[in-house]
Amino acid sequence: MALAQTYKGDALTLEQGWHMPDRGTVGIAFLIVTESALFTIFVVAYLVYIGKSLNGPMPKDVLDLPIVATICLLSSSITVVFAEHALKKGHLGAFKLWWIATIALGLEFLTATGIEWHKLIYKDHLTIRTNLFGTTYYSLVGLHASHVIVGMVFLLLVMGVTFAGFPIQTQFRRVRFLSWYWHFVDAVWVVVFTVVYVVGR
Amino acid sequence: MALLQGLGAALPEHRVANIFKPLATPAQSEYHIALLVLAITGAIFVVVAGLIVYTIWRFRRRPGDDAKQEPPQVYGSNQIEVAWTVIPILIVFVLIGVSARVIASVQNASPPPQMLKVTLIGHQWWWEVRYPDYGIVTANEIHVPTASATYLELQSADVIHSFWVPQLAGKTDLIPNRTNYSWIDPREPGVYFGNCAEYCGTQHANMLLRVVAQAPEDFKRWAAEQQKPAAENAAFQSLSCVSCHTIKGTPAKGKFGPDLTHLMSRRTLAAGAIANTAENLRQWVKDPQAAKPGSLMPSLQLTDQELGQVVNYLESLQ
């Protein structure tokens, strides 16, 4: 390949000064873009059908603000950052602690969702087939919850291998991608919360 | 025969539904803007295609050209670039302007007080036509008077259909759980052909529609005929036909199929699938699936005797 010779001395400086963005970073960024597009459509469907149900129960009758769960989920975004920082500095103990805190907060959120759904189904008799509210509510909240679950699985995986003695410091990049994903799931919750519990009620 | 004349049997038929031969105001407006758009796009085509063909012809490599010699390397030109951005922008703005005007004039036309109101309900695969002011229910043929506008309320009983009678008006969909509006004002008496224009399942192809435009007095006569109830018939009423079909003045009150009260006043059977002749009617009642496979009217396995009675009765429904 004679191209390098065409540019003679320049080629060398070019090669040395050439830095491309990190693959994983860009990959995660665009994964989040396409996920956002997916959520947008569900949110739009929810907004379109607010108040269009022909029969009850209506949101204002059965929905309570999930304040505690929301606080848990949002603060798990903070703990995960602390964990990330601890890992970067090499404080494995602190990392484990913050990581477990993140998982606990995530679990609390999922449990709260579970309890809410149980109440809606068995006490208020709202299922996915009851009316438009039921359909859109379970779909949107369920889609978000399924993302929380996926995040949980990965969080648990990292915890598992860490406690099994795997040198997690070597995987700092991947841990950071996971934390970005977690932030994304959190940000989506802010939207879902606003749409379902604030605007939709 | 005189009666049939009144019902419009001798009206000219417009079978070839050419959108460029409009015979009502909405179609006319659409035709006029179409002409303008065709002229503009035609001119663009001539200029641009001319340019392309000229370039290919003029700069094709000819035998004897020096293969090694590369042509001058031109990378671009900002002036030219601006020119062929600005000119299309101007054209597009003209097009947007005229579109906006025609959209408003067709869609937002204010209904005149003397209008006739018709509710058109799409079914898989036939049209229910209701005249709320006259108490008439019929199917697959919309009778309207010339010289005044008819307003159509469009609804659907099942899936989406679309109202389209090319010489009278462009399409408007019939959508379940929603009401749309359209209007037509045919100028000349005649039978105008249309079809369902939104795919609606198996027999979408045979969901044909006719608009029968009549002189106002003929229309009045038709309406008076249609308002009359029909005679009862024991043989017919003993069959399951009544669970799907209505015949006014009799216990037949089914809603699933077309109203048959004045069946014989219609030109076709089964939404234009076949002509309304004695023989066809017999065949249809015997085995609807043969004439219109997939139709939602099942074959009822009538005995020959039942068939004869039913068809005789149906033929009396003038």
């Binding site: 491309m20 359909t135 | 179609a27 179409a34 085509f45 392309i52 408007t172 939104e198 997939g294």
Partner: protein, 560 residues
Amino acid sequence: MASIDYPLERPRPKEGEFSFSETLYRWVATVDHKRLGLMYIVTALLFLVIAGLMASVMRLQLAFPNNHVVGPETFNRLFTMHGTTMVFLVGMPFVAGLSNYLVPLMIGARDMAFPRLNAFGYWIFLFGGLLLYFSYIGGGGLSGHGSAPDVGWFAYAPLTSKAFSRGASTDFWILGILVAGIGSVASALNVIVTTICMRCPGMTLTRMPMFVWVMLIDSWLIIIALPPLTAAQVMLLIDRFLGGNFFNTQAGGSAVLWQHFFWIFGHPEVYILIFPAFAILSEVIPIFSRKPLFGRAAMVGAVVAIGFISLGVWAHHMFAVGMTSWSNTFFAASSMLVGIPTGIKIFNWTATMYGGKLRLDTPMLFCCAFLLQFLVAGLTGIMLAVSPFDWQLHDSYFVVGHFHFTLIGGLVFGLFAGMYYWFPKATGKLLCEKLGRWNFWLFVIGFETTFIPMHFLGILGMPRRIYTYAPDRGWDFWNLVSSLGVIAQAAAIALFIWNVIDSIRSGEKAGDDPWDGWTLEWATSSPPPEYNFEKLPVVRSSRPLWDLKHPHDPDWKFEQ
């Protein structure tokens, strides 16, 4: 940079030294972007033939009035499967195949950013396609109604609800396309990351080949336009399996909502399909005119503009649903605006040819035909965008004419240009030029004969998706002409397939650089080795090989 210090030459057995099962294994287990690219393209061609044969049966049925070749149900399945296949199993894998094969080569990379994701993308796409076709067997479902889906390629609600579509055929449509769509998104993500992160030294964004630029934007469109379809399909699944009410009009749901969601995907989708053709033309025309692409910056800008505007025009497919006059005006306006950047593209290609020395070989012939045919297609698109005119034209054969002009006259002609152009790179053999000319002229003649009459049929009031029509509607003649054209089209495609097979077996050796090219793929051997480049190239302009071949007059002296 670390990436440059890869081992240069790995010991590599010659292709002939493998047994059949080993060769098969090497293809099935491959993560090499070139093999995956070819697998995509071959699969797409296979589906093109299948869907083309379906179209031929439809044309046979429509050749005469009151014809009885197939019944209504079969016909409805045919056009549904034809349209769905052409869009999702022909167009989309061509996007993925071309970008997979060419993007790494053109940016001087050794592979895609995520090779295994790439393989995953292909196999899941193939699985989706097979799932769709499995409906012919499994579509009856437990209740025994139906076979292949018959709801049209845009599957309007509520025709797809359980009440109107019993059996499992619609479920196969949903799942097949949903799964294939995941493959497309995976492959598009990969292309984006590859172009952003894997360019060889000196390959700044401004120096990237136009092909790569267009594919980058295409992939961007894919990752934001496909999720709406996926979302809508998930909703439909919820309706069908869990009894949800998203599109249940009985429960107050809206039938129009599906249309919005579908076309928010569907309109960008048609540009996703045409962009590869744009990409190909932007490479082929300069090479065969011996001039650089005229107005590179404007060309990139135009594609970005098309991609951007196309996200806001979707409801021009819905002018008849009874939107307010404001919405109709808005969507008419935004649709027409797309004409401006598209015009820039057509003009710049023409200007590239202007003053050049046109070598009218087969790839270039296809490009010339593309320019004229796409011009017509675009202008009929403008007519459709004029909403009052569209009230007449909507869902008529005029629309069918319009989109076959864009999809065949545009996309397929572009793909043929590309296949004739890069075939020597992929195989080391040239395609036969004489057969190529026959292929070209037969296709042009067949194409025009089939699809020009459809515009007239639309004007004569013929609706689309009808399995038969009465003899007295004035449609007989043009339908017959249209059907006859298919014969020439089929011959052209058969000829192409023969040309490919014959040239692989006994074609003329191509050498590494048969067209005297300027982009990096021509700098490596034909076919390229697994690692693409022995030594990663370094570039200083958008035409590195021009610099190499013209040391006294290099591009980088003019470009910045």
